[in-house]
Symmetry: C2
DNA sequence: CCCTTTTTTTTCGAGCCTCGAAAAAAATAA
DNA sequence: TTATTTTTTTCGAGGCTCGAAAAAAAAGGG
């Protein structure tokens, strides 16, 4: 059904727009909002006084870098921290963390713990998450009733409705419906998101100049994750979180991948694959479930020092990534790439062969657009992306019900 | 800038919605429109009487399959044919055609001619298009002033703004800015679109049940073209028409492609590649610019008859397509595939190895969703897609100015 | 043949929403 | 203290959609 636009949708959309602008801009004045949204002074005035009355926004004291000018001074509007509480949980290999944020996006409380995800049972995983949520809420002095939304990021594949973790390299368990489980347990709405997608959300928020309409984030670790933003929207598949870059085929029938198939990009460029190759093991050897970062650092040192098996392994990895990006760019046209995660520490050993390989593909055409930004620590990005995602969902669902903004797939 | 919604946008959007519903449904009554759009009777009544007064819609006599019921009979609304005239031009290898459509989408006049595109100069190509437009307009009894929009489909890559043909296999010429040239010459707005994208638009219109949110169209011919619809929107790249499936890399450093690079899918699955392989030529041989359909039919016969080089060539082609689809599905999740063009005639020789290859990839998971529909003749689909695209642009720009509907990238 | 029933379509007043213009507010400059 | 400048609010006008009621146009029934 092609839905018509009702009259009251108008207010909802414009309210959502105002809230979104305040979240993006920081502390804009009403006048800033007028130029930002194109709405009239009257409308902005009406909407913002409503939002202040409802406790969503609040007038804030002008900052220090205020230019002293003639005329009535602008009153900046900020998000009211007390308006809502959101929760994020990040579940990665051997690491679990939970963070409570206020509505303005400031951290209220945070907890982090080591957890042997590879050996933990299904119930232990769920139990650990549940306990951590209870603990961090207690630290924050909040109850589950205060939480308006939770976003959970996991390594691996999630479903397109953001309800479950379908498959993950961090445990042999699969199809864990975290959203259902946690919603039943705590009562607040939960979404489950892919970690790389959250990185993309965070990068877009951090540097909108650079990461706006089209860009790629690659998470180089034991596996290869991807987050993809196309036309300003986070890309997800029809059934899953999508964007399984690491499992595009680099060489049909080639090296054995962790997923059991052969020739995936990951089977050449994942940490386990680089290690396997550098150590002279057959590329049909079963993958290590985890590779110590220290080992990878030493491997990178070896590669930098001399032209031996380590350097060859990184070159081969770069080749796989490069051809993969080339094929991706053949589909979507070249775009900026952000490289995130431990793999950045050895990226200098891969970049030449990556560029070489891209040059061999149709994606090598708009060479100038292809650039690589490095960010070693993925954790802060994942956290930021989760928080943003949760807060934007609250913005829309709660304070502008009925209107669904962009970047909200599976929210 | 995040644009707020102005008050008058409301009417524009709802007008656009009504027009779109009429175009999609055929001849809906006002009551149908109410349930289709979710708007109230009053609003539909107001909008449709406006549109009738403006000569965009018209009440039509009820069709034969009208159920005789008690009560005031429904009055069907149809598009007023005289409301606008649009023009489509399709430029393929050695073929040029132009068609005039009325606003209701009926063909008013059509012309088609053989043209040696491979040997024609740039000026000759442009001249041929110009002459054909003049001729078909004369046949239709229209002048350029009557034409509200023209959509041109070309084989090859177009720019993302749909203004120019960037590269094409049908002539050595490249970067021909058809939109600028023709707009200057005739005065009506022109867009230049990729042929496979128009096929996707047409399939979506023809069978919305099957081709709705996510699907792939593959045009198998001398080259391999792709049209991709994701989340209900035609996918295009950031700089070009995108979706260069044929130039994803199947085997790094492999067979020589028409594009000069090595290992592209096309270099295994294009007609020239199949012929080259079947004939026992090296896969580093330069490609034929054109392969006679008859030759391909004979090759397919050979392949069906015995397990020789012809069968091996088709198997190899299917493998390339299969692994390519597998990689694509790793990114976007599996989706229905429509196979269009001459390649369908030998598709039975490729399907087994396509399925076999997909099964080796991450895309092979949701096996059930992957289905292949065949449509040998691409020409009617391209034409239908072009017409639809042009008409929808008229719908929106002219009768609901300011509101840009979906499926309108680069319109 | 006329009146009732049923269904579709139009009309009409109410309630919102945005807009532009004018007024009010709050500061600096002289 | 008064004029000037800039921001913000107020207020009336115009539009849009909605629901309810009225009008229109057919079939059914006695």
């Amino acid at each position: 059904m092609i839905l018509g636009v009702r009259h009251d949708d108008l207010r909802k959309r414009n309210r959502a727009m105002v809230i979104a602008a305040v979240r993006r801009e920081g502390q804009p004045s009403r006048t800033d909002l007028v130029s930002r949204t194109g709405l009239s002074h009257s409308t902005i005035s009406a909407i913002s006084s409503d939002l202040i009355a409802e406790g969503v926004l609040r007038p804030v004291k002008s900052g220090e870098n205020e230019v002293v000018r003639r005329g009535r001074p602008q009153v900046s509007l900020g998000l009211e921290p007390k308006a809502a509480t959101v929760l994020t949980v990040v579940l990665l290999l051997n690491t679990l963390s939970a963070t409570v944020f206020d509505y303005a996006g400031e951290i209220v409380a945070q907890k982090r713990e080591r957890l042997s995800t590879l050996t933990a049972s299904r119930d232990e995983l769920v139990g650990a998450v549940t306990h951590m949520i209870e603990a961090v809420l207690q630290d924050a002095g909040r109850t589950p009733n205060d939480v308006m939304r939770m976003t959970m990021a996991v390594q691996g594949i999630t479903d397109s409705d953001a309800r479950a973790m379908l498959w993950t390299p961090i445990t042999p368990e699969s199809d864990i419906p975290f959203a259902d489980i946690l919603e039943r347990r705590f009562g607040f709405p939960v979404t489950v998101q892919n970690d790389c997608n959250m990185i993309a959300v965070a990068l877009r928020a951090r540097d909108p100049e650079r990461y706006r309409d089209n860009f790629v984030t690659l998470l180089l670790s034991n596996g290869i994750g991807m987050g993809l933003v196309l036309r300003g929207e986070l890309f997800t598949g029809a059934y899953s979180s999508g964007g399984e870059f690491g499992h595009m085929i680099h060489r049909p029938g080639g090296a054995l991948c962790r997923c059991g198939r052969h020739g995936c990009i990951e089977a050449y460029a994942g940490n386990y694959a680089i290690l396997r190759e550098a150590a002279g093991r057959s590329d049909q050897t079963v993958a290590d479930a985890d590779v110590d970062p220290q080992t990878m650092l030493e491997l990178a040192q070896d590669a930098r020092a001399a032209d031996g098996p380590a350097r060859a392994a990184f070159t081969r990895a770069g080749e796989a990534i490069g051809y993969g990006l080339g094929s991706l760019f053949a589909l979507i046209d070249p775009a900026p790439v952000a490289i995130v995660g431990p793999g950045t520490l050895a990226f200098d050993m891969m970049e030449p062969s990556i560029r070489e390989a891209i040059g061999q593909t149709a994606g090598g055409q708009h060479d100038a657009v292809i650039s690589f930004d490095l960010e070693a620590d993925e954790m802060p990005l994942i956290l930021e992306g989760c928080a943003r995602r949760a807060l934007e969902a609250v913005d829309n669902e709660l304070f502008a019900p009925g209107y669904i903004a962009t970047m909200q797939a599976g929210a």
